[in-house]
C-alpha cells in the first residue's frame, strides 16, 4: 500500500526563488524514509507540503486515498520542540486531541501511555522550561503520536541536540517505529543519522531540490549500537556520503554554468 505519493511537486516562492522540484516520490505504508540534502535544498519545504502546511506551486500530493490529509492523520515534529511554555507536559501532549475534539477515554489514555513510552511519565506535570533539550524533543514526539496518526513527519528534529542525546533519541525513534508501525519521513542533513534510521535514503540536490539518488539500507532488524559500529553501516555511510557530495557538486556546477 502507498502511504504518500508526490507527483511532480514544485515550489516557487513569490519572488521567483525556485525552491523545490519537480520531485516525484512514493512512500509505502510503514516505510521509514529519510530525505537527505544540503541545507537550503527544500527538503523541509517538501515535508511541509506533505503535511499540508504549505501548498505546492505545481504537482499533486496524495495521502492514503485523499488529496488533502484529514486532521490528525499526520503527526509533525518540528526542528524546535515547539511546546506551549504555559502548559504542562501532559497538556502539551494532549493539545492535538483538544484541537480535534477527540477527548475519548481511549485517546486520553494514550497521552499517558506515550509519555511512558518516551520515558517522561513522571514529568507529566512539569513545565517545558524545566526540561532539557532532549526531553522537550521527546514531548514533541509524544505529541505528534497522540492522535495515532498513520504518518509521522520529522523535520531535522534532533539537529540541535548533543551527540549522546541524539543517538539515544535515534534508538528510541526506531523502537517507536517498530512498535507502532507508522510511516515515517525523516528530514536530516546528517548522513550517519539517515543511514542508521531509514530503510531508504533519498538524496536531494541543492536548490532547487530534486531527487539525485536513492539508497536502500538493508540491515538486520532491530538496529542498535552494534549496527552503528558495524562494517556494513560504514559502507552505507560512505556510499550515501559520496552521493550527497555528487548532489551538492551538481548544483554548484549548475550555478557556475
Amino acid at each position: 500500500m502507498t502511504a504518500i505519493r508526490c507527483s511532480e511537486i514544485r515550489k516557487v516562492y513569490p519572488r521567483g526563488v525556485d525552491a523545490l522540484g519537480p520531485v516525484s516520490l512514493t512512500i509505502g505504508e510503514g516505510e521509514f524514509v529519510s530525505l537527505l540534502g544540503p541545507s537550503g535544498c527544500g527538503k523541509s519545504t517538501l515535508l511541509r507540503i506533505i503535511a499540508g502546511l504549505e501548498r505546492p506551486s505545481a504537482g499533486e500530493i496524495v495521502i492514503g486515498m485523499r488529496t488533502r490529509p484529514s486532521s490528525g492523520c499526520i503527526g509533525f515534529v518540528f526542528q524546535e520542540p515547539t511546546l506551549m511554555p504555559w502548559a504542562s507536559v501532559r497538556d502539551n501532549v494532549r493539545l492535538p486531541l483538544r484541537l480535534t475534539h477527540d477527548m475519548s477515554a481511549a485517546s486520553l489514555a494514550r497521552v499517558d501511555d506515550l509519555l511512558a513510552r518516551v520515558g517522561l511519565a513522571e514529568f507529566a506535570e512539569a513545565y517545558p522550561r524545566e526540561l532539557s533539550g532532549g526531553m522537550k524533543m521527546r514531548v514533541s514526539l509524544a505529541r505528534a503520536l497522540v492522535t495515532d496518526p498513520d504518518i509521522l513527519l520529522l523535520d531535522e528534529p534532533f539537529a540541535a541536540l548533543d551527540e549522546i542525546t541524539r543517538f539515544r533519541l535515534n534508538n528510541d525513534l526506531l523502537a517507536l517505529w517498530r512498535d507502532l508501525g507508522k510511516t515515517v519521513v525523516f528530514v536530516t542533513h546528517s548522513v550517519f543519522e539517515s543511514v542508521f534510521l531509514s530503510q531508504r535514503v533519498v538524496v536531494l540536490t541543492a536548490r532547487p531540490g530534486r531527487i539525485s539518488s536513492e539508497h536502500r539500507i538493508d540491515a538486520p532488524e532491530p538496529r542498535d549500537e552494534s549496527f552503528r559500529t558495524s562494517a556494513p553501516y560504514a559502507a552505507y555511510c560512505r556510499e550515501v556520503s559520496a552521493a550527497l557530495g555528487r548532489a551538492s557538486m551538481a548544483a554548484d556546477g549548475m550555478a557556475a554554468g
Binding site: 509533525f76 515547539t82 504555559w86 502548559a87 493539545l95 492535538p96 524545566e130
Partner: protein
Amino acid sequence: MMDSPNRSPQKMLRILMPLVVFVVVAGIWEAVVRLREIPPYILPAPSLILETLVRDWALLFASLLATLRATLEGFLAAVVGGIGLALLFNRAKWIEDAFLPYAVILQVTPVIAIAPLLLVYLPQHLAVVACAWIVAFFPVLSNTLLGLKSVDRNLAGLFALYDASSAQKLWRLRLPSALPYIMGGLRIAGGLSLIGAVVAEIAAGSAGSGSGLAFRIAEAGYRLDIPRMFAALALLSAAGIVIYAGLSAASRVVLRRWHESALEGE
C-alpha cells in the same frame, strides 16, 4: 526552581535596602529642618507631615478613596478597551491601519491639555475616569498587539495541522502567547491611570463632596498648608507603589510557572 538556601537573605536585602535609604533621608531631612529652624510653611519636617497625615486622616482618606475609585475605573476601562481594540486590530490589518494613528494621537497629546475639554463635556467624575483611561489604554493596546504578533510560527503551524478553529487559536495560542506582554502593559497602565486621574482632578479644581487627593493638594497649596500638601503627596505615592506592587505580584502569579520574567534568581 526550588528555594535555594542563599536566596532568602538576598530577597530580604532587596526589601531592606530601600527602607534603610528612606530612614536615612528622612532622618537627615528632620535634622536639617530642626537645626536650621526652617518654618513649616517653607519645608515641614517628616514628623510634622506624619502628624498632619494622622490629624487629617478622615479627610485625606476619603479623598484617597475618591481618587482610587476613578483610577480603578479608568484602569479597568483601559484593560477592556486596550485588549479589545488589540484583538480587533489583529483581526484585520486595515482596521489597524485606519485606527492606530488615532490611538497614537490620543497618546501623544498631553493629557493635561485634554482634561479641561473633557471637563466641559462630561460630568466631573466621568471626565476624571476618561482622563485615566486615555493615558492608560495605549500601553495595554500596543503591548497586546505586540504580544498577539509574536506567536511562535511553528506553534501556529501545529494548530493549522490539526485544523484548529479561530476560537481555539485565540484562547489556546494567541492570548496565552500575548499574556506576558499584556501583563507588562497592565503594569505600566496601572501607574498611568493614577497619573491621568490626578491630572484631571487638578484640572477640575472645583470643590465637591467627591474631591480626590489631587484637589486636596491644590486646595492646601492655595492655603499655604504645606504639611498637608506633603501628606497628600505621600498618600498618592503610597497608592502608586501599592498599585505597581499589586500588578507586579499579579503578573508573577499568572506567569509563575512558565515565563522567564517570573523566574527568581536562577
